[in-house]
Symmetry: C2
Subunit: 478 residues, 2 copies
């Protein structure tokens, strides 16, 4: 058959089949924008392949026709990475959602990229093991999206980021070339690490189709405490002590500043105070062990030592799962913020652990100096160096976000921090990438983008500020 006549979408349907390609007009109420609130256009069509070969055929056809493609997962991203600029085709791997294998001897799970995170967790659990990656969007986000954005979440301090769970990866490049590195080995020094290059590239270098990921033993005992501390030095001392003295390590170390704590207690109705005392810092501390009794004993000993040393002023130890849930409710309150604080401006930044106390202090002081009526809420995964800052102003002028972004990212640059700790750059933070990465690194990123996607067709305009399509210059000229 020769090439079909008609529009690109008609030819795409002819090439891939009407069951695979849905034209824009037939998408109905399907959501095509992520949770970021950044603007996003409608796709000209949606491609839903069922196999890696179909992904490859679709990308090869788009490549031959110079058609841009944006891959979408669960659309729970917060950086606009899955939103369309206009004119692109969207691709969803929702039909590739199989859990292909759980290998308890090798300790691996092999999945297709369209599977929802929670299903992977459940499959691991059913096999008596644990898949440690966990985040609030677990019921909607997909593994493909988790890997494309190198998702973080609640257990990074003990188990690492999304990339740290991956042993093998299959992906399709811009021109349809399949890269299949679906290995199960922890050690594999055979050639360049393409896996980690694709992970976190936010759909700009390839489409992840399958992955082999590690499973962890399921912990038998979880200990949780809510602690009040007198100053930031005490916070870092508690972190170091808990890390050194808990055999199973620290699985969560969530720090909340009084600005955050007081606001949440006053405004989020379902939250109750874990302690009736006030402190300069609050820490939600969690540790997991392989023996429930020993774990509990070790945890109580460690907490007692820290209370005796004055590092912790007051603490409440969870004596039931219900207690732990009550403590976590304080930390999980930000889910209510978009309703309570409409138009809020949120930051996901990271710093060396040693600097976080001072950075947070300067950040709040700077924001209050420039916008005296601004409300700021500060909290974070301190063990990972990840700080979350929420800024909110009633009756905000339309350009507020632009100015607050500029101010907070400038501080991030001064303190050698990262403008994105776990959410990614997407479309939202492109202008600030140079605050964290230097010109040499950004030049190398452009060179790699051009090498793997010379026509700039995969999620164009994300992560990097537009590379000229097809340009091929020596790296010295970048």
């Amino acid at each position: 058959m020769t090439s079909s006549p008609g529009s690109f979408v008609e030819r795409l349907v002819a090439e891939l089949g009407a069951d695979v390609v849905t034209p824009s007009a037939d998408l109905g109420t399907r959501r095509v924008r992520d949770w970021s609130g950044t603007p996003g256009a409608d796709p000209i069509a949606l491609i839903r392949p069922s196999t890696t070969q179909e992904v490859s055929r679709a990308l090869a056809f788009c490549h031959a026709n110079r058609q841009a493609v944006v891959t979408q997962g669960g659309l729970t991203g917060l950086a606009g990475g899955a939103n369309l600029l206009g004119g692109e085709v969207a691709m969803s791997l929702e039909r590739m959602s199989a859990i292909e294998e759980v290998d308890t001897v090798s300790g691996t799970i092999t999945v297709q990229a369209g599977v929802v995170l929670q299903r992977v967790q459940e499959a691991a659990d059913a096999a008596g093991m644990m898949f440690p990656l966990d985040l609030g969007a677990r019921g909607s986000c997909t593994i493909g999206g988790n890997l494309a954005t190198n998702a973080g979440g609640n257990r990074v301090i003990k188990y690492g980021m999304a990339r740290d769970h991956v042993l093998g990866l299959e992906a399709v490049l811009a021109d349809g070339t399949v890269i299949s590195d679906l290995h199960k080995m922890i050690k594999n020094n055979s050639g360049y690490d393409l896996k980690n290059l694709l992970i976190g590239s936010e759909g700009t270098l390839g489409v992840i189709t399958r992955a082999v990921m590690r499973l962890a033993p399921r912990p038998a005992g979880v200990s949780t405490a809510w602690c009040g501390l007198p100053d930031f030095a005490a916070v870092t001392r508690l972190l170091q002590h808990a890390r050194a003295h808990m055999s199973g390590g620290v699985s969560a170390f969530e720090v909340m500043w009084p600005s955050y704590y007081d606001y949440v207690l006053a405004n989020v109705k379902t939250v109750r105070a874990p302690l009736d005392t006030r402190h300069a810092f609050y820490v939600l501390l969690e540790s997991m062990g392989s023996d429930a009794e020993r774990q509990a004993e070790e945890f109580e000993t460690m907490l007692g030592e820290m209370l005796d040393a004055g590092v912790i002023e007051n603490a409440s130890l969870a004596s039931s799962a219900a207690d732990a849930t009550r403590f976590w409710a304080v930390r999980d309150a930000p889910a209510e913020f978009p309703i309570l604080l409409p138009g809020l401006i949120a930051f996901d930044i990271s710093f060396p652990i040693a600097d976080i106390g001072e950075v947070a202090r300067q950040c709040e002081a700077m924001l209050h100096a420039r916008w005296p009526d601004m409300r700021t809420l500060v909290y974070g995964h301190l063990g990972d160096g990840n700080l979350h800052v929420i800024a909110h102003l009633n009756n905000a002028p339309p350009d507020l976000e632009e100015h607050v972004d500029a101010a907070v990212y400038e501080l991030t640059r001064e303190w050698h921090g990262a403008v994105s700790a776990e959410h990614g750059i997407g479309g939202k933070k492109r202008a600030y990438l140079g605050y964290t990465r230097d010109a040499g690194a950004i030049g190398a990123m452009h060179a790699i983008k051009r090498a793997l996607d010379p026509l700039n067709l995969l999620n164009p305009g994300k992560v990097l500020v537009e590379a000229s399509p097809g340009k091929s210059s020596p790296i010295g000229a970048l």
Copy 2:
């Protein structure tokens, strides 16, 4: 000053200074080849920069003159990755050996790439922490070499490969461009992961100059046991059970087959049998915990359960450091093999853990079928999927290695294993890279190599079979 006349080396001296550049004739007895035994040429000159800026100037000058450069670390590699093909300049970062900072609050150490691994371990120890990367060559190998080859070693099962310790990296690209990503954050999703691309690229994509690496808490208690097991199913069951029931996890799980064990006991004079019983498999099991007493108790309980269940037939628990050293001596015996078995052929391959028993059986059977008088010794870091096989034949024909390589790597390909688990591809295994990576992956590697080193000047001829210098083709044509 305009460009100096004379040979390239004379101009290099003029550009960088006589203190930085040593012409070949003045190198004396300096070693310029690694431990691999593969052939290596002498460099036309040796460059020893003292700063990142000097590395940059040197590479920019070589780039402008189309001069190839091979970076050498401690020259302890086993894949010929640091050996010269002929005509290259060698670069050593031995003058960049500073430990710049130990930050115990953030849990990081910042070093220059020329520092010897053991010095980093000692600096961490002096600060009350641990740098977990450890391998036999610790007294000579450098961090730059460890990262360039993504070194593995003794503690991968608990702490990961070299890449897993790195938070930030500084490197210089082929044209002298400096990439400085010297961040201390555990979480940093700001742009592509160039760090992991450079790590393990064996000096072909850039020269690593500095790194920020994570430190771990120093364990208070180490438990070690020597176990005899009845079959391979018991070996994997012990691994799973120990992983699930030791809070501190498993820090070593070294498996030795009878072929290895019997040979070592009979031939390595300093080694004594840890048990007086014979078994189908021997496992050296180690676990580390943060509380010496609890750790010991947990370890003994776990061993007792495995003995009662018949998973372990017999075990000896180290009751002193001397006992543990005695057990480790059996596992460390391969250091003697080059003298005992001249001309031995060694393999560093990896497989899914579940397959290793059968692969090892087939490998020994295949080698004995083809070479009836061949001695084979099999052992490995089983928890990492890493198998080491030694093949030796008295009065070997000159082409033996070629044929044994082909046979063992063919088996590796059939079992979807890796032709290099931890030593790298270097010059030695280039022909077999395609046994582990597919055509799509190798094409992408070439595209990245051309993007970052278009003139093919950095360690040419290593990892990848020659890319045509300066060629710039669309990826579809790779």
